[in-house]
Structure formats: C-alpha cells, structure tokens
Symmetry: C2
Subunit: 251 residues, 2 copies
Amino acid sequence: VNLAWAVGQIMRTLEAPGQSPDALRIAVEEEAGTIEQEEIGRSIAMAQHGAGLVPKNATILTICNTGALAGPGMGTALGVVFQAHQEGKRPRVFACETRPLLQGARLTTLELLRAEIPVTLITDSAAASVIDRCDLVLVGADRIARNGDTANKVGTRMLALLARAAGRPFYVVAPSSSFDPKARTGADISIEERPAEEVQRFGRCPVAPARVKVFNPAFDITPAESITAFVTDKGLIRPPYGRTIPRLLAS
Amino acid sequence: VNLAWAVGQIMRTLEAPGQSPDALRIAVEEEAGTIEQEEIGRSIAMAQHGAGLVPKNATILTICNTGALAGPGMGTALGVVFQAHQEGKRPRVFACETRPLLQGARLTTLELLRAEIPVTLITDSAAASVIDRCDLVLVGADRIARNGDTANKVGTRMLALLARAAGRPFYVVAPSSSFDPKARTGADISIEERPAEEVQRFGRCPVAPARVKVFNPAFDITPAESITAFVTDKGLIRPPYGRTIPRLLAS
C-alpha cells in the first residue's frame, strides 16, 4: 500500500497543466526526492516513538526483515531496535527465520550482526520456545485496515497469538502510509499466493514430492484485538482502533 | 520414552537366572518380536479409537511425520488419518513442512500421496492461514508427563495455541508407552538442542551468516490445558488429566 501511495503522489505531479516534458521530468524527480526524505524522516520518527516502549536490556522477538534493507532510513520494526541500541538500552533479538524465503535468516541477522546487536536465529516454530524469555514482539506491516486488522508476512499472526497467550505486548511498527483507508477490515485485504516452488524446493533441491499440492500465502492477517499498539511516524496508536485509526487517517 | 521402555522390557529378559548365552539370545529375539507385534496392535488400536473423532470429509492439520515411517504399524497421528480413509471418511490433510528437518514435507506428503489421501503442504507459519478450514488437529508425542503436558516436535505448541484460538479440537495420538510416569509436568522433560547447522545451512548451502547464534530445540512442550484429548491404544484419555493419566499408567 505504501508503494501505491507514493505512485499516487508522483502521478499528481504529472497532472500539472501546460508543462513541457522536461519540466514534468524535473518535477517528478523532485517529488521522488521529497518522498524519499519524508520517508527517512518517518522512519526516524517511528524508531524514536517505538524505542520508548523498549525497556533496558529487553529481549525482542521479530519476524521477516524490517530494517534498512526493507524500507527507507532505518526501516520499521528493526529501526526501533537500532534506535533502542543507540540509546544504550542494550536490546537483544530473537529473529524468526521466516519461511519460505528466509528473510529473517538472510537479512535480519546480517543487519543486527553489523550493528553489533546480539541476535539469535530460530525457526519460526521455535518462537513458542523463547517467548517466555522475550519482553515484547515487534513486527512490520504490509497493510493495515481501518479497524486495525494487519496484513504482514505469513507467520505474524502466529506470533500475535503467542504473545497474547504469554502476556507479552505485540507492537506493529508502520508508517502512516501503510494504513489503507479503503480496507474496512482484514477481510478487504487480498492475500498474494506465491509459487509452490518456494516451499517444494530449496534452491534447485527438491524437499517434497514434486506432485504435492502447496498452499503458499505471502501474508496473513493479524486480528486487531491481538495488537497492543501501532508505532507510527505520528506517534503510538492504541485501541480502540475504530476511533484512533480514522483520526490518524484524517490527520 | 518408548525406546527406553522397550529396552527395559528386553533387559528384563536377560535377568533370567542360569540361562546359556544361546538361550538368552533366543529369549531376547522372541521378546523383541513380541514387542513389535504388540506395538503394531497398539498402532491399530490408536487408529481405530482416533478415527471415531474424525468427521466425514474432515480437513486435518498435522505436523512432522507420524506415519508408518515414524512408528510401528500405521504410526500414530497419521495412522488415524489412514484409518479414517479406510473407513471411507475421505479425510484431507494440511501437512506442516516441519522446520528445520522438513519431515512433514519429505515424509508425510509422501505417505499420504501413496495412500491417495489429498494433502496440501504448507510452511509451519501458514497453519494460521488454514486453521479456519480445518476440523481438527492431530499430532504425535515424544513424551507425555503425568499431568498431560506433552513434549513433541517443535511447532506443536504453536498449533495447539492456534487450535484453541480457532475453537478446533487438538488431539495427541500416542501409545500408552509414551506416558512417562517419572515426569510430573512438562518442566521435568528436558528438551534436546540440535546443531545450529540445521537452521544455518540448507544441505551445504548457507542461509544465514556463519557467525550468527542459533537456538534449535528439537521439541517443545504443549501445556495440558491446550489438549482436547489423548488418543491411546487403550482408548481416549480426556481431562481432568491429573485423574485420567494416573489411571492409564496403573492399567
């Protein structure tokens, strides 16, 4: 939804009447640069709002990649970790590997190691074995409906259930542009299905019989009631989301 | 725990006084054969008791491999599926791939395809995306404590949480020899930690930075209160487990 929003901004630039092609090209480039700077500013704002939720020496559970490799500036959920680290809070992270494409194993571990933030890699299922050692869960978002239902990387809903069962706060870190005014609830968000090969094979190596049917959704919907708060560039959004999210969208 | 139990049975055979080595060897072989036949009988009994819980045209969620490749006879959880299929109930299965070693992708899909039972492979995290389409969850067990806490393949606890949140029954299928009278609760069961390489690499291909720390528990503990019933060779064991499991152990 962020990409569609940014493209919409650019398209509006092209609607200026009576401009030469060169003038339009320059206007588009300028608008793109402005969006980039604004997004970096939003990332920093999210990180700062979020770091306030992170206690000293916190252990944080996360999924997928939500750092500088995934979004502008410091990213979203991982940006909060970087910020807490910069503030001297000494956070440590359990990173879910994030099947099937292993963004957690491949990217999140790399970014945290480079920042010298202690990180332990786990399979997605092992989250249940570490939740008691975690203080909070931080995830990003693909798209957030008006009622707070949140589409994010498949596996996020499992973590939300787990956090709730264990009595741990579950925060979604996302810029205000990830809130989709057109989606009333999660039911209005269509979930991309990805190729069977991502699950059936590993690189070129088959890991399942070739003729087995596969269901490979890219995202899942975390119900609003499992989310403790949203961390946005405009501050924290807390329940009741039916009131607070429309207020954010109108701001 | 089953293996320790069977070894114990064999060791008792060796305690017969004044036997020649040849007589002992024959006695051990006979005892082993008896155990095998009894275990096959238990597998059939479990499958029959369990199939009674499976409605017609049921969709079943499972994890790991619990069929004929994993245990005697028809196995445990998958034995129930085979039995329901033989009874003409037309079950279909969502098989969790079961990271890190992918027993679900490699073995469960194979056994179900061979039996011509419809199977769809999913990543472990995608279980949350299919639970609403499932009628019940069937899993095996590594070891069951006296209060019903159950050690099984890592990921099982996530499925139990999910089943509970979705209001679906969660059954553990295990022979009575999997109940460990020495374990009072799950806290008395030590969890094997497996090598980091299982998560860090795929075959010879690295999927995470080599210097990242990994936590790779083989099993997790599903709390007794998340388990709808145990399907054993001696019938169904229902809560309160504090009463029903000691009765099973004494029988």
